[in-house]
Symmetry: C2
Subunit: 148 residues, 2 copies
C-alpha cells in the first residue's frame, strides 16, 4: 500500500520525541520505556540514526543520544533516508540498470519525476513540524512553477 517500513515509522516517533527536548540526553531504555517500543529495536534504530549523522551519542553511564541538529534542520526525508535508503519508487529510479525494459522505457524519466515529488514532500516537513500538535499544510517548493 505504498507505506514506509515499520522501522522507519518507529524512527520518526523516536526523533520527534527527541525533538521535543533537544537539549536533553535520552538513553535507549528511557525512550523504549516512554514510547512503549521494544528496547532492542529502539537500540538498533538509534544506532542507524547515529551512523547517518542525525544523532550524537554519549557513551558510558549517564550517556545517551541527542539530536545532531536543531529540530527544524532535520527533515522527515532524512529519517527515511537513514533507515531505508534513498526514496526511489521504482527500481530504475535509482539509475541502476537492472531493468529489462530500460532502453525504450519512456516511463522511466517520468517515474523519476514522481519520485522527486515524493522526496520533496518528505523534505518539506521537519521534526519541528512533526512535533507540533497539528501542522497546517505542507508547502512544496519547486513543484508549482510549470504547469503541463
Amino acid at each position: 500500500m505504498l507505506r514506509i517500513a515499520k522501522l522507519t515509522d518507529y524512527a520518526t516517533v523516536l526523533m520527534v520525541r527527541l525533538a521535543r527536548e533537544p537539549a536533553r540526553c535520552f538513553s535507549a531504555a528511557q525512550l523504549a520505556d516512554e514510547l512503549r517500543l521494544p528496547l532492542p529495536t529502539v537500540a538498533k534504530l538509534l544506532k542507524r540514526l547515529l551512523q547517518s549523522g542525525l544523532l550524537t551519542s554519549v557513551r558510558g553511564a549517564g550517556g545517551g543520544y541527542t539530536l545532531a541538529h536543531a529540530p527544524h534542520a532535520i527533515a522527515v526525508a532524512d529519517v527515511v533516508n537513514a533507515i531505508e535508503g534513498p526514496v526511489a519508487l521504482t527500481e530504475c529510479s535509482l539509475g541502476k540498470g537492472n531493468c529489462s525494459l530500460e532502453k525504450d522505457c519512456a516511463t522511466r524519466a517520468n517515474w523519476q519525476l514522481i519520485s522527486r515529488a515524493v522526496r520533496v514532500a518528505l523534505e518539506a516537513v521537519s521534526l519541528a513540524d512533526m512535533a507540533l500538535p497539528r501542522m497546517q499544510t505542507i508547502r512544496m517548493p519547486g513543484l508549482k512553477e510549470k504547469t503541463p
Copy 2:
C-alpha cells in the same frame, strides 16, 4: 527504500502501453510479448486492473483489454490504488486503530498530511503524461496555499 511494489511498476508499464493506442484491444499475450514481461504475471495484473474498473475486457477469441477511460482521465494514483490499495505511509494513516501509541501520538495527524501530499503527487500524473517522452514538471494543486 520507499518503493512501490514491483507489480505496481509492471502495471503502470502495461497501462502506459495501452494509453498509447487507446482504441486498440490488446490480449494479455500480446502485452507480455511486447513488453517482455512474464505472461502469468501480466494476466494477473490485467485482471486486477479490470476489477478496479480501469480496464474493460472482451472475452473469447480475438478478445482482450482496453482502457476504461481516456488516458488523461486515469492517474498513476489509480493504478497504485488498484494494485496495492490506498496510499498510507504509516499504519495509522489508514485510521485503523492498531497502533499502540494511538492516543498521545501527535505524529499521526502529521503523517496523514504527508501521505496526502504523496497521494496528490500520484494523482497529478495521468497515463497521458506518462506516455509522453518526458514530462515537464509535476503540478500539485492544493499544496501551495498556506505556508507553515
